[in-house]
Symmetry: C2
Subunit: 181 residues, 2 copies
């Protein structure tokens, strides 16, 4: 059986009254199906000079390396979500220390909120969505095998911020905006 | 005719394989209906020492005052969304100057990204979702008639940041976390 899409349910693309954009609106009852961007939360987590990286066990980009990150859940704060992802993907207990980056990928309607964090201990463990996890020196980061550009940006911005206690969060690097679809 | 909910479509609450939370999963085809938090984008917009405020023409909180803000749209960056809202609600052309606050309201699954901005001219106009718009001195802000706590936080944080060029974005004030549902 094929996967149903909202279009199967007598939805039609139209601009609702008082709106400026096409939405999927049900012809019979007028219900409007809003679709909005998703929030990804994550953290660059450090233990002394080492950085926590996870090798992805799931698609997309299975086998490539990432920082702990994932979709924010309903009724969850971004901070709680970033801590949950570190726990789920790497068995890591962390303390957040500031918002490092706000990255947007409009092509896939995602906004990433990436924090800086300190591991409470060097004990990490392979979670269900990871093939491997570990603590790596800056020189050991597998740059060509990072899963997403945002992972690279976050690591570079973490390095750039250095020991600063208060800093403005970084955004997409100007020289590599991801083009709209 | 009543408004259909996802439950009408043979969805059942269950925990999908490899997941840790209940989702609405279709019994016949296995399709998973994910629901995620929404992003609200907005800006504290200033012209010289005056702040742009809009009186809401729509529910919730019709008749109360707000800064221009609204839901981020698909394939839109937060920065573009904040500029669009200023244009739609107050006819205002703005230039953003930094991320002022990241506020979360987990009870209603919202994350607000609020920027600082400068108006490119003092020309503002009443948009479809506003009853009135205007530029107000700090002393004129109608504190008891602000629409939402996040509006008050953003205005206070704007004042607190003052003339600083680089600053860490503020989050929910510690003394008034909005409790979970």
């Amino acid at each position: 059986m094929s996967v149903p899409s909202p279009e199967d349910f007598r939805f039609r693309r139209q601009v609702p009254d008082g709106d400026t954009r096409e939405r999927l609106v049900c012809d019979s009852c007028g219900w409007i199906h809003y679709v909005n961007p998703k929030i990804v939360v994550g953290a660059v987590c450090v233990w002394q000079d080492k950085i926590l990286l996870c090798r992805r066990a799931i698609e997309p980009r299975r086998g490539y390396w990432t920082i702990p990150a994932g979709y924010l859940e309903q009724e969850e704060t971004p901070e709680a979500g970033a801590m949950r992802e570190a726990k789920e993907e790497a068995g890591a207990e962390i303390a957040l220390s500031g918002l490092l980056g706000v990255y947007s990928i409009p092509r896939i309607s995602q906004v990433h909120l990436i924090y800086r964090a300190t591991l409470l201990s060097p004990e990490v463990a392979v979670g269900e969505e990871s093939l491997a996890v570990g603590l790596y020196d800056w020189a050991e980061i597998p740059w060509p095998d990072l899963a997403f550009p945002t992972v690279r940006w976050a690591l570079q911005h973490h390095r750039e911020v250095g020991a600063a206690a208060a800093f403005a969060p970084r955004t997409n690097p100007a020289e590599e905006q991801i083009p709209p679809r």
